[in-house]
Amino acid sequence: MIAGGLRRSAARGGGILLAGLFIACSGFQSALDPKGTKAATISQLTLFLVITAAVVYVVVIAGLLFAMRRASTRPLAFAHDDIEEPDRERTRIRWVASAAAASALILLLFMFVDVSAARSLSQVGGLRPLRIDVVGHQWWWEVKYPDLGNPHNTVETANEIHVPVGRPVFIKMTSDDVIHSFWAPNLDGKKDLIPGHETRTWFRADTAGVYRGQCAEFCGHQHAKMAFFIVAEPRAKFESWLTSQQSPASTPTDSLAQAGERVFLSASCAMCHSISGTGAGSKYGPDLTHLASRRTIASGTLPNNVGNLAGWILDPQSIKPGAKMPPNQLDPAALQALLAYLGTLK
């Protein structure tokens, strides 16, 4: 009876497993919905591992249930009193030895598949890679597109990484404070950002789309809200994005936005943020030169719209308690002007 119950729960477990895999197969931050070469290789590997593991599980549990069933017919006797014991002993040795041998073979197979997958992932393939520098901060991502020929054209942005489809991207990473981990599961596994070390990784997006990534190493209060987006787009679109990001912020033309610029420069904003083309050049917060072109604010926490931006400026601590951005006491007119100005930073 008990064996039956256990069997039923095993069947149920298998059902949940399959259903779960199905659910996990879609999503903009999911390891099983690969959109890049590396993630695709890993997801094939995952499928292989899961299926093999499930088969092994079913076989071992079946063996256990079979043993329990056979045992239920035996007399309630001690081994010493059991005359059939020596015969069974021989059978058991045979079974256990072959099970151990089979396990060893399966583990060797696992090893072989693992190591060859790891090897193939370590080799950058395809076109000349695009280089991007990422620096982790508590709790946002600094992103740079260095232009070695002309340093003036280096693009600085935050929490949003645009990449061309089909071209490998080579990322150099380090951290400004504690250890973070760069992880966009649709494209690749994770890599740590460690202060005092420079780490490197690469990936290639094969399908255009917007993929979310998140810090995967515990890094303090707002570890939970340290996300970023990778925008994979066709080459031409990416090039035009890069060109537009290289330009400094345009001078506002309407009077409201001009007032907003004055608010930005005279209030505490300019103490931490920089906007190229203005006097604001501080590097403690994300670069805001092209803020309005980004999809989200507060490290992928809120969609970038006027309402959210206003709420974030006035009271960031209710959205990300512990974040380094202080609350700002701005009167409504100043806030409206500031929002209008930030809206022009395309």
Binding site: L49, V60, S103, F110, G196, H223
Partner: protein, 656 residues
């Protein structure tokens, strides 16, 4: 149930194993009682050096910490039950998850496994006390003070908040201001001392105090597991001693072990921590394997199949366990070839576990199992641990681990390993040995509820976490956004946690009811084979009335139709035990155990005081060391008891 149908041999009062018809039996009992009983009252409690009373405290304390850790888990699950929940803020959440991990690893799992060993090993191998009774008491006090320090600090909003793994630089001086992480580092110091003491006790006791005839190849598998674990502790814990001290020094006296700008390295911490941290898992898991062997043997009435294979598997696991630590660091900048070695070791360690599982299945196959609660927990182990083991082989793969690392997939994996692989055997062991320790049986009815609720709750809680992890949910997040689509599964997980909590509540009720009105157990309610069942339940302060002589692996089954041979002639008017040789357990010497004393408590107070004061001023170390030195001087002061049986003493007697 089947276990009620005892075999005739066990019911025949004249032929119960371990009961002997030696004329002076009553007199011996009285004399042993008068020299070993420690009396009652506060003073006796504070000065006790008897391994049974200390181990009982140890177990109860560890279970209290288990409950506290469980409550913390419950609070985390309440917070995560829906997206953007505002039940707990990030500051408290970080403290709680750090407390949960630290409590479960340092204050529950390792201590409870050692404590059960400290209770059972001496009785199982037929000796009267552990090798160094006063040191043993010191170990308990250190452990208690460490745990109390952590929880008092937590109540005063000084709970550590950088994770139980305390990665620098987050746990370092710059990013963890205040005393929170200092408390953590010092709590580690306390529990390290306690664990090392326990390990030294267990190794020495097993090597030198086995009953005559219990050669190494006749030791119960539980004793083997304890021995191997103790060796692992001795090799693994120094690494965390070093690293937690380095962290404390970085924070308190401005050293630069982990400061990259001054030649330190943040990765150094990870290597040192995981060199301890991975064997730690096996330190928890191997004693549980020993418990499983005891359970399966008792309830199938078969000796465990493949004894040499079992022992060799345990030893192999222990060796390989030291070669896995880098698989916690696959995302760090280490060369791929180097990492691949750790993939190999992590894969290989599945093999000895597999061999043991096959041997147990073979044991069940040939016996006739009795489905008591204890045995059900053992069966539950197979269903849960194999899942954890297989996901463990999966995360040994570098590419897959880079997706699964630090996500809920890993949370799920190690809860299957640690709950399925260690807590289930532990509960099975409690149902098995509770009658021995207390003299009363636990209720089987409540036990079945306990098991099924735990089994179902465990799967409802942890299985969906695999999926959550692959859906991209990282660990250690205090909240998540609604649009991530993790809300439904998280709610399910939180409901599962409620089921686990109710199961533990049933267990506590069961213990409560049994202590008040449980069925008296008798000496050997399960008709098991090992020596702890030869003495009364609960065992007297001196363990066995006569030290047994062992002639096989299953002494009580061998003695079923005859009598258990015993050693006579040891002195009963003082704490005397027999020392035997390491390999074959041939009698070598007599040995006097030290009796009750307050010194361990004093040393714990002064030594512990030094460790705690050091958080606030370096002078704490100086003052505490001087005080401890005074106590240690008393401790090691040479004493000769008036009836000491040495030639020198006899000579003096002659002179007198």
């Amino acid at each position: 149930m089947a276990h009620a149908q005892a075999l005739p041999a066990f019911n025949d009062p004249d032929r119960r194993p371990g009961t002997l018809t030696i004329p002076e039996e009553d007199e011996t009992r009285a004399r042993l009682s008068s020299s070993w009983d420690e009396g009652s009252g506060l003073w006796a409690w504070l000065t006790s050096t008897n391994h049974k009373s200390i181990a009982k405290r140890y177990i109860v304390t560890a279970i209290i910490f288990f409950i506290l850790g469980g409550l913390e888990a419950g609070m985390m699950r309440a917070q995560l039950s829906r997206p953007e929940n505002r039940f707990i803020g990030p500051d408290l959440y970080n403290q709680i998850f750090t407390m949960h991990g630290s409590t479960m690893m340092f204050l529950f799992a390792v201590p409870v496994m050692e404590a059960i060993g400290l209770y059972l090993v001496p009785i199982m191998i037929g000796t009267r006390n552990v090798a160094f009774p006063r040191l043993n008491a010191l170990g308990y006090w250190m452990y208690l003070f460490g745990g109390v320090l952590l929880y008092v600090a937590f109540f005063y909003n000084t709970g550590p908040d950088a994770g139980w793994f305390a990665y620098v630089p987050l746990s370092g001086p710059q990013y963890s201001p205040g005393k929170r992480m200092d408390v953590w580092a010092q709590m580690i110091t306390f529990t390290e001392i306690a664990a090392l003491i326990g390990a030294v006790e267990i190794v020495t006791t097993i090597f030198k105090q086995r009953a005559p005839g219990m050669s190494l190849n006749r030791m119960p598998l539980f004793v083997w597991a304890q021995l191997i674990t103790a060796f692992m502790i001795i090799f693994a814990l120094p690494s965390i001693v070093v690293s937690s001290t380095m962290l404390a020094m970085d924070r308190l006296v401005d050293t630069h072990f982990f400061n990259p700008a001054e030649g330190g390295d943040a990765l150094l911490w990870q290597h040192l921590f995981w060199f301890f941290g991975h064997p730690e898992v096996y330190i928890i898991f191997i004693p549980a394997l020993g418990m499983l062997s005891s359970i399966i043997e008792a309830f199938t009435r078969r000796p465990i199949f493949g004894y040499p294979a079992m022992v060799l598997s345990l030893i192999t696991t222990a060796f390989l366990g030291f070669g896995l630590w880098v698989h916690h660091m696959f995302a760090t900048p280490l060369p791929l070839l180097g990492q691949s070695f750790f993939t190999a070791a992590s894969t290989a360690i599945a093999l000895p576990s597999g061999v043991q599982i096959f041997c147990w299945i073979a044991t069940i196959w040939s016996g006739r199992p009795r489905y008591t609660t204890s045995f059900l927990f053992a069966i539950g182990f197979f269903f849960l641990f194999i899942i954890g083991g297989l996901t463990g082989v999966m995360v040994a793969s570098i590419p897959f681990d880079l997706q699964a690392h630090d996500t809920y997939f890993v949370v799920s994996h190690f809860h299957y390993v640690l709950i399925g692989g260690a807590v289930f055997p532990l509960f099975g062991a409690i149902y098995l040995w509770f009658p021995k320790v207390t003299g009363r049986l636990l209720s089987e009815r409540l036990g079945k509820w306990n098991f099924w609720l735990f089994f179902i709750g465990m799967n409802v809680t942890f299985f969906p976490m695999h999926i959550l992890g692959l859906m991209g949910m990282p660990r250690r997040v205090y909240t998540y956004l609604p649009e991530m689509g993790w809300g439904g599964l998280n709610l399910l997980v939180s409901m599962g946690a409620v089921i686990i909590v109710s199961s533990v509540a049933v267990f506590l009720a069961n213990v409560w009811v049994s202590l008040r009105a449980g069925v008296p157990a008798g000496d050997n309610p399960w008709e098991a084979a090992t020596l702890e069942w030869a003495t009364t339940s609960p065992p007297p302060s001196y363990g066995h009335l006569f030290i047994p002589v062992v002639e096989g692996r299953d002494p009580l089954w061998d003695a079923r139709n005859g009598e258990l041979a015993v050693v006579t002639g040891l002195r009963t008017d003082r704490h005397e035990g027999l020392l035997t040789s390491i390999m074959d357990a041939e009698p070598e010497h007599r040995y006097e155990f030290k009796g009750p004393t307050i010194l361990p408590l004093l040393l714990a107070i002064f030594g512990g005081g030094a460790i705690i004061l050091a958080i606030f001023t370096p002078w704490g170390v100086t003052v505490g060391s001087i005080m401890s030195a005074i106590v240690l001087t008393c401790w090691f002061w040479p004493t000769i008891s008036p009836d000491h049986d040495t030639p020198r003493h006899r000579r003096r007697e002659r002179i007198a």
